[in-house]
Amino acid sequence: MLRREDVLARARAAAESVVDPELPMLTLLDLGVLRGVEIAEDGAVVAAITPTYSGCPAMATMRDDLQRTLQEAGFDDARVRVELDPAWTTDWITATGRDALAAAGISPPGAAPRRTGPVALTLTPMRRDICCPQCASAAVEVTSEFGSTACKALYRCLDCLEPFDHVKEI
């Protein structure tokens, strides 16, 4: 009989190996989407995930990949549970995740905005202290706050002229 801690460790290792379907250089753990793995009262392994954006089309694939990976690791009745609260924030992306993004040419997010009181209107383009992931130049300009996916803004480097994605702070 396996000890509970060993089972949990094996389940965790399996869940933590699952990668994001759109940013495969990141695991769901690095992305901050995988919130925990536990063993439920009925003995089943349950992985908890928090959606990034309400409409993120990758969520269904993430759930599917998690469950399939757990089943392939021998946890036949594994389940995936959605945790909506607290809402996902880019602050949950791990240091490893940020390095992986930068290595893939994607500018990692800065600190998420901390709000007290009503959300202020910003009529001028958002200022971010970021640099080009290709040539490290700080001379960059935003092309659009909505890039290839909802979670990214589109930038252009004014030195090497390469366009690049920036993961938006939320």
């Binding site: 309400s54 995936v80 909506l84 959300v119 383009p125 706050e145």
Partner: protein, 311 residues
């Protein structure tokens, strides 16, 4: 659970081989469609389930119908960046709508349209595709046909300013699901409002033609604006029960935001009255404009043709 096919990387015999195995490794057509899987959807103490469901439908239908309208811009916006931005905003709203419709169905299953017994269509899709216009509770601002890009900028500004203010309050709803959906939505809609406000300013301060179009769009949509702040009985009851927000309570706050945009843009507030309802009944009562049945016809036709369909 169905058997999972493991792809053999050395199997290059037939390009069709991969299509013939079971598709358990794909998300669609599996059981993973419930956006509230594993979420506790117990109705809070002292809250009427039917009121909560109606309130969720209102906010969910607003998002669903406007999302459908905005997605009509796909491949038609003035440039690629704006095309992608509008599609992203539509996607955020669709996501909010899925959660809200699923929450409505979980609170009061009796509102979900009945389908053949063997139909695999989930509750949120039944609500989206199998209700008629009289059962939709969205405000009319969400449904009217698209004009030009300037008019869409005005519509997104009006809608996101209102919804952001409502969701900020709703984040402290006694219903944990609504509170979580709202807290997430605030982050998303801050981007929607900034995007539309910046374009409002750009068009107003741009050329004579861009300004003319922007002002025309504002004049066109302004009569639909007051409806958003008229408290419907379901909104009043939901607010009284601590699960919803009375939109009249955020009117002053939203007005400050609009005034900020108007002032920066040098645009005057239109002097036009509210569009009347039918015997006083408007979008929240299920009484819509002619545009509603047309947008629903297009949105629902495929799903209705295949009530047993798996997607």
């Amino acid at each position: 659970m169905a058997e999972v096919h493991t792809h053999d990387p050395d199997d290059h015999e037939s390009a069709y081989a991969g299509l013939l195995v079971n598709d358990a490794h794909w998300a669609f057509g599996t059981d993973f469609e419930d956006p509230l899987a594993g979420v506790d959807t117990t109705v809070p103490d002292g809250v009427d389930a039917s009121t909560l469901a109606t309130y969720c439908l209102m906010l969910g239908d607003d998002a669903l119908v406007l999302s459908q309208r905005l997605s009509e811009w796909c491949s038609r916006a003035p440039d690629l960046e704006e095309d992608i931005a509008l599609a992203n905003i539509a996607l955020d709203l669709l996501g909010q709508s899925r959660l809200l419709l699923a929450r409505a169905a979980a609170a009061d299953p009796s509102i979900v349209p009945a389908l053949p017994e063997d139909s695999p269509v989930p509750d949120e899709d039944r609500l989206a595709f199998f209700r008629d216009d009289l059962q939709f509770r969205n405000v009319r601002l969400a449904e009217v046909a698209n004009g030009d890009f300037a008019e869409t900028v005005v519509r997104v500004l009006l809608f996101s300013s209102w919804r952001l203010a409502v969701f900020e309050q709703l984040s402290s709803s006694r219903d944990a699901v609504l509170a979580a959906v709202a807290a997430k939505g605030v982050k998303e809609m801050a981007y929607h409002r900034d995007f539309s406000a910046r374009w409002f300013l750009t068009l107003a301060r741009g050329t004579e033609e861009s300004r003319r179009r922007l002002v025309a769009g504002l004049e066109q949509l302004w009569p639909l604006w007051p409806e958003l702040f008229e408290t419907h009985s379901a909104e009043r009851e939901a607010a009284a029960a601590g699960v919803g927000v009375d939109p009249a309570q955020v009117a002053a706050e939203v007005d400050v935001v609009l005034e900020q945009v108007f002032a920066a843009s040098g645009v005057d507030r239109p002097d036009r009255g509210a569009l009347a309802g039918i015997q006083g009944k408007k979008g929240r009562d299920g009484h819509h404009t002619e545009a509603m049945s047309k947008i629903l016809a297009e949105m629902q036709v495929v799903a209705r043709a295949h009530p047993r369909g798996r997607w």
